[in-house]
Symmetry: C2
Subunit: 353 residues, 2 copies
Amino acid sequence: MLWFVGTGINGHLGLSLAAVDVLKKCDIVYVERFTSLLGQTDLAGLDAVAGKKAVPVQRWFVEDGREILDAARGKQVALVTYGDPLIATTHSELRARAAKNSIKTSVLHAASGIASIMGECGLHMYKFGRTVTMMSEPNSAISVYNTIFDNLLAGCHTLVLTEYSHDEDKGAFFLDPCAAVKMLLEVERDQRHHVISEETFVVVASRMGAEDQSVVSGRIKSLAGVGFGEGPHSVIIPGPLHFTEEDALEALTMSLDPPSDNSKAIKRISSQMVERYAPKAKEALQQMHNILRLEQGDKKGMFEVLDNAELYIADAERFLLQGKHELAVLSMGYAEGLIDALRFQKGINPWNP
Amino acid sequence: MLWFVGTGINGHLGLSLAAVDVLKKCDIVYVERFTSLLGQTDLAGLDAVAGKKAVPVQRWFVEDGREILDAARGKQVALVTYGDPLIATTHSELRARAAKNSIKTSVLHAASGIASIMGECGLHMYKFGRTVTMMSEPNSAISVYNTIFDNLLAGCHTLVLTEYSHDEDKGAFFLDPCAAVKMLLEVERDQRHHVISEETFVVVASRMGAEDQSVVSGRIKSLAGVGFGEGPHSVIIPGPLHFTEEDALEALTMSLDPPSDNSKAIKRISSQMVERYAPKAKEALQQMHNILRLEQGDKKGMFEVLDNAELYIADAERFLLQGKHELAVLSMGYAEGLIDALRFQKGINPWNP
């Protein structure tokens, strides 16, 4: 039998009573250190609690998994991991492999770092959109930027986990939150969707669960002077805030600035389009009316075209207010097409009025 | 001082060693029962572990909070809650109020029900979009449906928590997963975005952390015969699946059908529009060409309009492939406007060709 045992986020003292019972009766206890924030004290504490020497193992050992599965065929084996045991996909994979090999498994859940961060920063968990991880590799910032954009449009907060790795020999590598934010500001310069600026209000959560855990909130421009120290860090970009969230941010974090709504600056591409094109279309409509009024002959069909264009511009603006974004853009394009057809026929270049 | 102590999801045995230390030294231990799945055995276990009688309190008592805050001014007070203590917004609010009243607080995180469900169903946590709660009240289903749609478009899984409440007198009320799914199928009949059908592959997680916890996966049509029993239940609608997720679903859940990708059936509204309107516009273009060819007089301007319409239809289809959804719709609308302007002038009703 293979037990997946989480330590939670408070070192070995994060182990649950149920987990301790399991560890005591296990024949072998592996402790997985690659995602690990478990220090020497915690390893010694784990040994004491389990009543046996836990075997520290590396990432490759868990990924390979054969020795663990072999042992679990005839013995009670525990794999102890930091946080909740099923958050890392490696553990979920190992569990599926065990099940396929008819090895019974059971999971002792524990505090997950991700859920704890969401709670500690005072934001409502159900308002978080997709969580992303930001690596130091520059291209990583683009998908993080897009996720923040999508989440803000949906009225959601974004938790950005930043790169963190721990190597037995080289020690810890972590991406500094200021460096992460700077990478996002660089993407903004290209994309210009007003997703992030020096005014953006963010929360930086560092070393969650450790004695020196810190949660700092403020505008990006205020973060420059803050030393965030060792990782792991995460950066939260909140969306619209409930007043209880504002209260919690001010009361429970090291608050450098009053909380503010980051979603106010952003606009859907559809809104940007209709708001930019509707006034231009109205001007062109007026121009065509003036031209047609001075002309001779049967202009009934052409006036009908202009009347329709006017209705469709109004439709576009109404659909936007109703949240029917695609219909708004379709109507806007249609109105422009109607007007420009006449402009082509009159020999006016629609794109150079 | 006020301690927020989570029990995790395994009854009182989900308490961490750190939590037990805190409970032992506290003067007063309140145990909050409104979100609670803590039975009599757990309450007795909690008393034994804490070395004192814990005081069960109702929802209103925690929401009101004054007695708790008053006690915490001079004493060591713990508020014990099911799951992770900061997931419920009530607790986060109480913590902010304590901080504003200069009462020191500390949180002992524990396994959260939400994170545990995500892990237990074998899906990758970072692929979950926004989590939603479905109430038995019929209008609730519409926003749940929209969230699933948005999440599927973004390639994300959706965790739908279903209504669950526990009343000292009336016992537990819960929404049955089959009833929840039926409500979503009804919304589909109105909205028709192919978000959900009898073929949709879902996961139903029930009573997470309890002895009789169950995780069932399969197509909606296969769920009808399954008795899911008492709540709380949640329904997961997965998006695109990684092969390790497929493996985990098959190996670790009670698998009624092979996993399948629910995002294949859905299309963005922009894609639906362009795919529906482009062929019609091409037909109308051909019709206008035929009419103009038979006519006398200077038709240069009109042919120029048709040439432009043709280019814009091609643009719309290309933008769609490039993921530029708004530009695709705008171009489609523009092409239709160009063509219809000529149809108006020729006395052809564009909407009755």
